[in-house]
Subunit: 258 residues, 2 copies
């Protein structure tokens, strides 16, 4: 069934309103007419099954038939901190990360970052990334749209590490057999040492094409992050976060199991 | 360090030869000159550190300095069987699946497949996919290039299921809370029931955009596959195989841990 995310003020007690591109999509693409049902979420806590009352390409009003449980969100909130990659790779990270179940994305600058950062383009870029996250969340039937944070400096990112229950710093050094500790060892050691919390907040820190410097690794570790590897193959920057996220959700019980 | 895959006949006892695009890349892009070192693999069992003896844009000869252990291949061989997706999504599956550690890829036809299959394009397509697998394997520092099988019919795929130690059929049905058993439960139950084998062969079966029919699910199950889900979010076809592969390698011990 089709899903739409709407702003909180469009989500009333008894009815909801679709406007803009969503109304256009519902009428022009989905051919919605009175009586048709779809699912609406405010992207935070409320999700409802609704039926169309009136439909035009600029405004759809629909009555709430039933409130639904927001059952599709992972128990562990995993934020992917991604050093800005080249080209449109950040779009792939956001689209696939949202599907798999990321909680939020923090783009940041690091020493070996290959791209030139252009502050003038920032607002437009975040708008585009937010749109990709919204569409991917709708498609994946999520009840929450992951937040896209404004670009952080390395200093700002390091200061955020302490806000998380677990921060993993993905660090692959060619020629070093160990690649640090594997992510499964890192998660399991943390679980054994930490006091149990129900809603675990994880920060997964991924470098750009150029990787991280030893200094950055040392600073992240000093701030409380755990250096960790993602297996014996060298992953591209846009793949690492998706693999790390999958490992975390697997370990947290999202895929069944003990 | 740069890596190249060469055919077995280019890999001698004491020296190796780079030809064609690889020689061109080494000389024109990497500016290789006598004495420079790189790594060469025959894509099967042999990997060596070599030093350039003579370099031209059409032929490079290099002497073998040291044979290296092929240490980057996963212990579990995971083959991704992917119902042909739209556009260039199969390329993403092959590129990222090779990075993460897939053993082979089997494209196949299923009932709800959206694309029209064009047999005349098949040879060209497999050539292109094989090139993507080779480049991704070099980039990821793998010692083996995953095989790309010719397109199979649904019947042919079902007959292959019995050749694997474990076959997982990814089956997501909207509105069904359980989505079958989660993949972690499926793997753990199989491990408890199966007699231990050292080199596990797994087949991961993924539908195209339209998903699978109930009949296909029943036929796969009858042939020995386990119906399994990949979490409570609906993954796009090109994401499902990568997530399933990551879960399998995580469980097999590739990321450290118990």
């Amino acid at each position: 069934m089709q899903r739409y995310f709407v702003a909180a003020e469009q989500f009333g007690d008894n009815e909801i309103r679709l406007t803009g591109e969503d109304a256009h999509h519902a009428v022009r693409v989905m051919r919605s007419k009175p009586g048709d049902k779809f699912i609406v979420s405010d992207g935070q806590s409320r999700t409802a099954l609704v039926a169309v009352v009136e439909a035009s390409p600029t405004l759809i009003t629909a009555e709430i038939i039933e409130m639904l449980d927001a059952e599709s969100e992972p128990v562990w909130s995993v934020t992917i901190a991604q050093s800005l990659p080249k080209g449109d790779k950040m779009e792939l990270v956001i689209q696939k990360g949202t599907e798999i179940g990321a909680y939020a994305f923090i783009p940041f600058q690091s020493e070996r970052m290959v791209v030139q950062y252009d502050a003038k383009k920032e607002a437009k870029r975040i708008e585009r990334w937010s749109k990709i996250a919204k569409e991917a969340a709708e498609q994946a039937h999520r009840s929450r749209i992951p937040a896209i944070e404004p670009l952080k400096s390395w200093r700002e990112l390091v200061q955020l590490i302490g806000n998380y229950d677990l921060a993993l710093f993905c660090y692959e050094r060619e020629g070093h057999a160990a690649h640090g500790r594997g992510i499964r060892s890192a998660i399991q050691e943390w679980r054994q040492s930490a006091s149990p919390v129900s809603a675990v907040k994880v920060l997964l820190i991924v470098g750009s094409e150029g990787g991280f410097t030893d200094r950055e690794a040392a600073e992240a570790e000093a701030a409380g992050a755990v250096l960790t590897g993602l297996g014996r193959r060298i992953l591209r920057t846009e793949t690492a976060g998706l693999v790390g996220l999958t490992c975390l959700l697997y370990e947290s019980g999202e895929m069944g199991g003990a």
